[in-house]
Symmetry: none
Subunit: 213 residues, 4 copies
């Protein structure tokens, strides 16, 4: 209220970003249902009707947040991965970018991961993004295995990928609650866990469950 004078009559594109910023923040803090359009508008420094005019319904607004944050995250990761890298390098750079993104956009991550999951209407939206990510990871594993002359059943790959993605998400979540943790270190640890596990897979070593019922 005392520092930067708030300008009026900004162009649409600017206002839309302001609104999305506010929306991500409020959704992240309160959750989809508990968030109020009033608070979002106020936080964006604009009146409610503008939010509706530019970004539509509360649901549409949430989807817009989802898309923006999801795209940003995907791009952050895709931007550092190069198909010519060896697999462990791809994993390392990808995870590091991922954890860095989470550390830098905690709100966005919370919106994507904690909120979207719980709210029925968006589970689908999120599932698509998640599936894409799982697919990418599975593909990475698959190529690494084939390069090594080994073949694995699709379902095994999918599950392995799901576990890996789930572990990463869990750690991201852990990171989101610890403002001073170092994302790079976390990435290194995660690579360690994932890569060594995958290494076993590569070497064909398998744990066998006892035969009892």
């Amino acid at each position: 209220m005392s520092t930067t004078p708030t300008f009026k009559r900004l162009p649409r594109a600017v206002r839309e970003q302001q609104m999305l910023d506010a929306a991500v923040k409020v959704f992240s803090r309160r959750g989809f249902h508990a968030a109020s359009m009033d608070e979002i508008a106020e936080d964006a420094g604009i009146s409610k009707p503008m939010v509706y005019a530019y970004l539509g319904t509360k649901e549409e607004l949430f989807v817009a947040c989802l898309h923006r944050e999801g795209t940003r995250m995907m791009e952050a990761i895709a931007g550092v991965i190069n198909p010519e890298m060896p697999a462990d390098q791809r994993l390392w750079h990808g995870l590091r970018a991922f954890f860095r993104f989470v550390a830098a956009h905690r709100d966005g991550w919370v919106v994507l991961y904690r909120q979207a999951r719980g709210e029925q209407p968006f589970a689908g939206e999120l599932a698509v993004m998640r599936a894409r990510m799982v697919e990418v990871v599975a593909g990475m594993l698959d190529r690494a295995l084939r390069a090594d002359g080994r073949e694995v059943r699709e379902i095994d790959l999918e599950i392995q990928a799901y576990a890996l993605v789930g572990a990463s998400e869990s750690l991201a979540d852990w990171l989101a609650d610890r403002p001073d943790a170092d994302p790079d270190q976390l990435a290194a640890r995660m690579v360690n866990i994932a890569w060594l596990g995958a290494g076993q897979l590569l070497s064909g070593e398998v744990w066998r469950r006892p035969t009892e019922g």
Copy 2:
């Protein structure tokens, strides 16, 4: 018209369970906010004031759901673990019990995992249960490592445990959406992934990140 019908007037404990059943079902289907006390009461076959009289506020009701489902899950797992088993057996039995629970109580799992996480007031409640689980897993890993003469920094253990729990949750979630998947098979796969990763940890093998900044 004057004799009270005998099938009503159930003892309080029974009624409470009916209500909790209904509540878990509705919360699971709709999410905390979207769920209405009306629907819960109707689903429980009882009038709203009774719900309030027995289980209190909507928030308290949700917490009660959380506790019941959480306790059930914990007990299901604890019931099959025996401290004298070797570590891989403990992991196997624990995970199998966990996935079996999820497969048999999808609604409860959804309440615990998908809903409680997103809604601020309960994140804390859940975090406690989660932390307890992580601690148990970390302890398991720690003892295994110490038994092998190796020592690992606490933070490494915590992260490894977080990853393991996260991977398991992710697979549980995968399972919750696939009614005909076999929990035992999934448990076996997860043990495979986890144990082999841990094996590397045990053997002291480590992936080193490149030295660039």
Copy 3:
């Protein structure tokens, strides 16, 4: 506020009638859109949520008004018509009942005739009632004509009936704006107009339009 003490906790049936009374009054005075649920609730001496609980949406409430008033009117008319009367008697008694109803339920009439017509969602509802009435009138004319040995094309009957109904509605509308007009006299005049017109029809006399294009 000073005369009859307003009782609380009235049974549902009573409250519903109170609400419908208020709704008819307010809709009639303001029109569907301009009427506010607040005003209706206040006028009914009850809070808004009760209106929603008992009678649903604003649209549903309006339809309920339509049905109640429409049914009342139909019954008022049907109650005095006897199939064994000669046709002119049926017309006379029917019209008299109709105008009496309008005089006694001005609000109801306005809701039915002036409001429902203009508002798209209800045009259909109303059209059905109107069509029923037209059909009845057409049937009445048809029987009178056949009894006289004459046959008329269906379309002619329909149009004749439409004109008759339209004329009556117009006069009803005239009546609704003149609180001290006498409905019985108006009915007599209308019978005169209608019956004599029909008399010409009976006698087969026809006006021929000039042959120019």
Copy 4:
């Protein structure tokens, strides 16, 4: 980018007609309240502030529609009536012009008849036009009767005229919903009904109501 395109900057009068066209269309389709200034402006291919600058408030805009359509209709009718025609010819030409107008300007008719009637603020406006029409019809009847040497009480004339106008409106409404009906045929039928009824009036024949109370 610097030369102003020539196809814009239409003269004011043209722009106003475009706006009125759009307004009539939208009001007719949605009704006064449900119509939005946004839709009208968009449909007119012009920005909202222009609408306000040229035609004022929403209410004023609606009144402008009413006046234009009402005037057009009146003129269409007046243009074909000649005071020297015999009465039945005047009736025939007038009604034909009326039904032709309705068939050709369904939207305008709906605005005039269905919408304006229901919305309180305009009922007055419309009543004036309607009264003028009734007066004209009554005058026509009066002269025909006087020419025949008969005198009728003013109230009887008014009611007869109201009935006639009401019947015509009802048929016009019937016509507005039947795009392929022939207005000329309808006019002929209406003349038939009206003229023969009036004929009875002329001949002094009267239906007498029973003497019971």
